[in-house]
Amino acid sequence: MTPQMDARLSELLRAALDGDQAAYANFLREIAGLVRATIGRRVGSSSGLDPEDIVQETLLAIHLKRHTWRADSPLGPWVHAIARYKIVDAFRRHGRAVSVDIDDFSDQLASEEQRTVSERDLERALECLTSGQRDVVSAISLEGKSITETATRLGMKETAVRVALHRGLAAIAQRFGGGG
């Protein structure tokens, strides 16, 4: 990651931590591209691992652990350490110890999500959720509704929608098998 890129992404994440959802979405898309490029080269099609799973796992980890980033420290090493941990973890769960030697994101171009992997089964990600969480998560993610719209549609309070969304995301992260 170049210093300029680090600065730009740090700026986005700082805005996101202050509640800017658009900045957060941009940040996550850029990070997804970087992580996807890194993982794509490590995870072959024969490994039985779905690279896009690891991308999503990493995004969830970054989200749920965003309070471990210090706004005054560089972003690259932080993102890199989380991605690396998630890649090693995915391999470990598939019964293979690997020493993952990932260089920094420096010389890699971000890559797009492939159509084939995007046809993934929705149920697989959502099956671990309670029905209430599933309603909320799918309204916001698949239909692109806002918190307010979701609350109106489901007849819930906004705070309840927020709680269900947060717990739902934590449950999806758990499903990936990270344990505690």
Binding site: A16, L17, G19, Q21, A22, Y24, A25, L28, R29, A32, E52, V55, Q56, L59, L60, A61, H63, L64, K65, H67, T68, W69, R70, S73, G76, P77, W78, V79, H80, A81, I82, R84, Y85, D89, E113, S118, R120, L122, R124, A125, L126, V137, I140, S141, L142, G144, S146, I147, T159, R162, L165, H166, G168, L169, I172, G178, G179, G180
Partner: protein, 210 residues
Amino acid sequence: MRTDDLIKAIAADTGRKEAPIGRTWLLCVTAGFMLAALVFSVLLGPRPDFQAVLSTIRFPLKFLLVAILLASTIPLVQALARPGARPPMWAALAAPTAVVIAVLVELSVLPREAWVSSWIGTNLWVCLTYIPLIGLGPLAIMIAALRKGAPTRPVLTGAMAGVVAGGVAAMFYAAHCTDDSPLFVAAWYSIAIGILAGVGALAGRYALRW
């Protein structure tokens, strides 16, 4: 779920924010100290001649060694809980180095006949029982704090948390124990703290993955 859809859901989840992990960790270390103080005062209490021995050399030295251990390992664990923070692992050598120096000096000033009795002391089993016992509560609090963090080396992080908990316990236990020789401290405090490090490593393996 498509990654783009997941991103929409994540971006909408901006409501709850955890406290910075460094602050959580230091708060929980403080809470660990208070819990250790409570357990210590209920179970053991300071030795009766506490005031008098403060002016000796060996008694205060015990606290200095434990203080070095805590000062070097508390920031280390704090860094271990943050991804990409490059924890200064050499800091873990500060306390062992200080202990080795203390032992060498002790051996040079103590007559050879007194070596074994200073090493074995009279409180060996009390030490091996109470340091782990006093440290267990603080260790549980510290593991709970670290679960909020993101340690990329969970076993090592748990073990080092065990060392911090052991240091907290030793800080209080040292006020009770009448064996002040660095030979005793080097042998038995180390084993007692090592037991907590082992418990911490095990806890790290199961509780600190994320």
